[in-house]
C-alpha cells in the first residue's frame, strides 16, 4: 500500500503539512517496506493551483491513500470516487503515520502466508534486477583492469618512498576485489621482488575495504554520496593505518 503525504522535507522524519500548498516536498511511502519516493512540491509562487498539481503528482506516483492536514471537500470527493482514500486531520511525522496505518491494517487483515511469500519473492527479484545491470558492468570493467594490471606493472609504479607507495598501494588495491588471500599472495610476491612494506600493506588493506571500480554499483545500491564518503574516508584511513601498521610491526 502506498501512502502519499505533503511534507516539509524529503525524509521519513518529515512533518506532514497542513495543506498541499504549504508542502515543499511530496512523499509516497510503501507500507510494505518503508521505501519511498520524494519529489519537490509545485510552488505556489511559481503559478497558481499548486495544490491540485501536487495531488496530480501524488497520483502519478501511485499513491492509494492520501494523508493530509486539510483538503477542500470538493477536491477530496472526486479522489474518493476514483478509489483514493483521503484521510484528513493528520499531523506529525510521516514515518509515525505510516507505521500507525500499517499496524492498523495488519490488525484488520490477516494475509495468507502464501501471498506473503509470493510478495517477498517478487520484491526480492525487483530489488535484485534493479542492481543486475550495474553489477554486470562492474564485472566487465574489473576483468579489463585486472587483465592489464600485472604484478610487474604494479612493482614498476612503486616508488620506494613509503608515503607515495602507500598511496599507490591503496589505489591499486582498491581496483581489485575478491578473496583477500589473493592480496596476501600478491603482497608476498611484491615483497620478494623488492617492494616496500608500506605499499604492500596498503594494497592488502584496500583490496577488501575500498572499491573504486565497484563504486557505480555501491552508488546504485546506497546512493552516490554514500559511495563517495565511504570510499573517500576508507582511502584516507587506509593510508594512515598502513603507515602505522608497518611502524608497529617493526618492518618500516
Amino acid at each position: 500500500m502506498k501512502i502519499g503525504f505533503p511534507a516539509d522535507s524529503n525524509t521519513l522524519d518529515a512533518l506532514i503539512t497542513e495543506k498541499m500548498s504549504n508542502a515543499t516536498w511530496l512523499l509516497v511511502v510503501d507500507t510494505d517496506d518503508m521505501s519511498f519516493e520524494a519529489v519537490p512540491a509545485p510552488q505556489m509562487s511559481a503559478r497558481s493551483g499548486a495544490g491540485v498539481q501536487g495531488l496530480t503528482l501524488l497520483l502519478e506516483m501511485d499513491a492509494e491513500v492520501l494523508m493530509i492536514g486539510y483538503i477542500a471537500p470538493h477536491i477530496a470527493q472526486p479522489l474518493e470516487k476514483s478509489g483514493i482514500k483521503v484521510i484528513t486531520g493528520v499531523s506529525g511525522h510521516v514515518e509515525d503515520k505510516v507505521n500507525q496505518y500499517a499496524e492498523l491494517k495488519k490488525s484488520r487483515v490477516s494475509t495468507p502466508q502464501k501471498g506473503v511469500a509470493r510478495g517477498a519473492f517478487k520484491k526480492t527479484m525487483k530489488q535484485f534486477s534493479s542492481m543486475l545491470p550495474v553489477l554486470l558492468g562492474v564485472i566487465m570493467i574489473m576483468g579489463l583492469l585486472q587483465a592489464f594490471l600485472s604484478k610487474d606493472l604494479i612493482l614498476k609504479i612503486f616508488s620506494k618512498n613509503s608515503l607515495m607507495d602507500t598511496i599507490i598501494g591503496t589505489f591499486t588495491g582498491s581496483i581489485f576485489a575478491g578473496n583477500p588471500v589473493n592480496s596476501y599472495v600478491i603482497g608476498q610476491s611484491l615483497l620478494e621482488l623488492g617492494a616496500g612494506w608500506a605499499g604492500v600493506c596498503a594494497l592488502m588493506f584496500s583490496w577488501v575495504s575500498i572499491g573504486l571500480v565497484q563504486m557505480p554499483a555501491e552508488a546504485q545500491a546506497m546512493g552516490f554520496r554514500f559511495a563517495m564518503v565511504r570510499n573517500g574516508a576508507a582511502f584516507i584511513i587506509t593510508i594512515a593505518a598502513s603507515l602505522l601498521t608497518v611502524f608497529f610491526a617493526g618492518v618500516w
Partner: protein
C-alpha cells in the same frame, strides 16, 4: 513511461561491453585473459550472491522495518555497530555480491553509518589469520588484523560525523 528508466540502467554495462569489444579489436591477445578473469569473478560471486538473494527474501518475508530501525536505525547505537560489524566480518565473497542485500536493508531503514561499518568490517577476516601468519609472520599479522578493525570503525566514525554535519 518506464522504458527509458530501464534503458538508462543498461548504459553502464553497455559501455563496459563496448570497452571489451574495443580491447578485442585493438589488443586481440588480451581478450582471452579478460574473459577468463570475468569468468573467475562471476564464479567467485555466484555463491555469495545466492546467499545474498536468499537473505533478501528472508528479510522481505519476516523482518519488519520496525525491527531493522530499532536495531540498526539512526538510533541503533552500540547494538547497530555490533550487529553490522559481525555481519561484515562473517560475510564472504566479493563486496558487490552484497550490494543488493544492503540495498534491501537500507530500504528497510538501516542507517548509513551501519551500512558503511558493514562494508568496512569485511576487511577483518579472523579466519584468514593463520594464512596471514604463514605469509607475513605473527607480529605483522596481529597488527594487520587490529588495524583492519580500526580502519572499519574509523570509516564508520567519519561517516557518522559527515552525517551529523549535514543534519
Amino acid at each position: 513511461m518506464h522504458f527509458p528508466k530501464q534503458l538508462k540502467s543498461w548504459i553502464f554495462p553497455a559501455c563496459a561491453a563496448a570497452a571489451c569489444i574495443v580491447v578485442w579489436i585493438m589488443v586481440p591477445e588480451k581478450i582471452v585473459p579478460v574473459l577468463r578473469i570475468i569468468k573467475t569473478i562471476t564464479l567467485q560471486m555466484a555463491i555469495p550472491l545466492l546467499i545474498s538473494l536468499f537473505m533478501m527474501f528472508l528479510l522481505n518475508m519476516y523482518i519488519s522495518t520496525a525491527s531493522i530501525t530499532r536495531l540498526m536505525g539512526k538510533k541503533g547505537g552500540l547494538s547497530g555497530i555490533l550487529f553490522s560489524s559481525i555481519a561484515g566480518i562473517v560475510s564472504m565473497g566479493p563486496v558487490f555480491a552484497w550490494f543488493p542485500f544492503l540495498k534491501a536493508l537500507k530500504e528497510k531503514g538501516m542507517a548509513d553509518v551501519y551500512l558503511a561499518n558493514f562494508l568496512s568490517c569485511r576487511a577483518v577476516k579472523p579466519v584468514l589469520f593463520p594464512v596471514l601468519i604463514t605469509y607475513f609472520g605473527w607480529r605483522f599479522s596481529l597488527v594487520f588484523i587490529t588495524m583492519s578493525l580500526a580502519i572499519a570503525w574509523g570509516t564508520a566514525f567519519i561517516f557518522f560525523l559527515s552525517g551529523k554535519r549535514l543534519e
